[in-house]
Amino acid sequence: MSLILIIEQTLNGIQFGVMLFLMAAGLTLIFGVMGVINLAHGSLYMIGAFAAAAVAGATGSFLLALAASLVVAAIAGALIELTVMRRLYDRDHLDQVLATFALILIFSEGTRWAFGSFPLFLDIPDALSGPITLPFGVQYPLYRLAIIGIGLVVALGLFALISRTRIGMQIRAGESDREMIGALGVNISVLYTLVFALGAALAGFAGALIGAIQSVQVGMGEPVLILAFVVVVIGGIGSIKGALVGALLVGLTDTLGRFLLPSFFGLFMEPSSAMSVGSSLSSMSIYILMAAVLLFKPTGLYGSA
């Protein structure tokens, strides 16, 4: 096992983590401000990817495709908030889960209806295709590196938005005390729609970015959504910082687990069984990580009690 391989896998883990962060940040914001759990967040991821693939197919421009993913997902998010979510704020979590589960069914089958069951493909733009040579002679795909960069920029932007701007102040106020933002004279329903649209846009953006590496298809969002839940549980609900740390932890654990565990078991087992034990265990590694965090900090690393 070479150093180069380890660096490469570590970068893959970070890239995976950054993508999870885009999902988890929206989820944790929406939960922190509105107190709702949104299972349809994975659908927004899928919608962003499909919007990007459709626009890229029509125009050939990757930038336009990315813009489309942001806009379409934000609009879809705002519509969901206006039509469904706002009826659920005062409901119990069961109703929220079931209503947003219903949305998944509608969006997934609706998309299958509109686009068919075959996956679409979104091409990596020429400017970002091919590998780049990093220090220590590591060859790494430029596009994946770009995702890491974009993700970190978005993370910084979110921190700035929340800590520096007026709307960020309102979001923080909303997280700590809902009555207070009413007292501050903030129009709560507009704020809620905005936060939801922002979370949706982040999810759609993540979907578009990943759509260029994997295929764009119905059902792509939910596995990512569940991983984002793991991230939120580890990081703590409502904490953007927790979402970032949790996302990187999950991304690295999963990627390095898949890479290292089979070789680890190979040290003392025959190759075929080492492969199967290693891959089975690594498929469970992030959940074991989540269980460990729960044992020691049931409210997550950065969650308040």
Binding site: V97, L105, S108, I237, S283, M284, L294
Partner: protein, 327 residues
């Protein structure tokens, strides 16, 4: 109250009458549909103990359903190839006997529920939902990546398992088995709901602090409820696998968890017979809407959304009216 009991009795009779009629006119497919209803109802009744009575919104019950299914698949596949499951520390053989399979399915899914519940119940609310969903996904990925029992492709068995004195390959006889199991579980759960345990569990759902103040630990109540709930859903999983003579990771998927929940909400949350009616409705929708359009899940989604937003008591709620307090 009287009205709800009438609805319950009618439901149970209808679920018996339809397949008997189908048997009489020789329509085995209808019997299979009714068997599916009985099995899904059983899974839903299991979940509803945690969800309705205990207020524990578990989105991971597919794990227990699937573990029950795999308990069947693994035992039966070893029996049909005459290979032992383990030869050390003691010889462990497969089996084709349903009662043994059911017992193993319930014990294994109950143990899984004990592990998942012990961790998840340290949290409440949204955390609990996300964590049960995540642990459910863990079992799903494990089933996919573990190659010994079919991995992603699942596991088939050639002949349905046997029950002493019955021909389980005859659809109506297998249906009757499932139906009787459902009825037995409904009977016990009706008793359980009124028992000291059921009363305390229900009280903990309403007010955790109140239960603590009278000196009862809610965590233990919930954990026991979660284990019973998981075991019953696991039993349903074993039956479902036997119905199809096939088990695959799909049984463990998050969609399955969602569907079991849908049975409950369609029928009515917190009503003992809610999942029975809900499962019946679900199978009817699948059958009729599925015949109309390949994309029937869209209609299911819309219906579900409407029920959640505007008809929270589900079908029983619509028919029987609001639940009233009674001793």
């Amino acid at each position: 109250m009287q009205r709800e009991q009438l609805i319950n009795a009618t439901t149970l009779l209808a679920l018996l009458a339809v397949p008997l009629w189908a048997w009489y006119v020789d329509e085995p497919f209808t019997i299979t549909l009714a068997t599916k209803v009985a099995i899904f109802a059983l899974a839903g009744v299991g979940l509803n103990l945690a969800l309705g009575l205990g207020g524990l919104v578990s989105f991971g019950h597919a794990a227990f359903f699937g573990i029950g299914g795999y308990a069947m698949g693994i035992l039966a596949s070893h029996a049909q190839t005459y290979t032992p499951l383990a030869s050390w520390p003691f010889l462990l053989e497969g089996t084709k006997s349903m009662p043994v399979i059911w017992l193993v399915a319930m014990v294994m899914s109950g143990l899984a529920a004990l592990a998942v519940g012990a961790l998840s119940l340290r949290t409440t609310g949204v955390y609990f939902i996300m964590i049960t969903l995540a642990f459910g996904q863990m079992f799903f990925y494990f089933a996919i990546s573990w190659p010994a029992y079919g991995g992603e492709d699942g596991l088939s068995i050639y002949v349905r398992n046997g029950f002493p004195g019955l021909n389980t390959l005859d659809p109506i006889q297998f249906f009757m088995l499932c139906y009787v199991l459902l009825a037995v579980v409904l009977f016990f759960f009706a008793r359980l709901a009124k028992s000291p345990f059921g009363m305390a569990l229900n009280a903990a759902r309403q007010n955790d602090e109140r239960v603590q103040t009278v000196g009862i630990t809610p965590y233990r109540l919930r954990l026991v409820a979660f284990v019973i709930s998981g075991a019953v859903t696991g039993l349903a999983g074993a039956l479902f696998a036997d119905l199809n003579r096939f088990v695959s990771p799909t049984m463990l998927s998050w969609q399955t968890s969602g569907e079991i929940m849908v049975f409950i909400i369609l029928g009515g949350v917190g009503r003992l017979y809610g999942p029975v009616i809900g499962a019946g409705l679900f199978i009817m929708l699948e059958h009729f809407l599925g015949g109309l359009s390949e994309f029937w899940h869209v209609y299911l989604g819309v219906l579900l959304l409407l029920v959640v937003l505007f008809a929270r008591g589900g079908l029983i709620g619509l028919l029987a009216g609001k639940e009233v307090a009674h001793d």
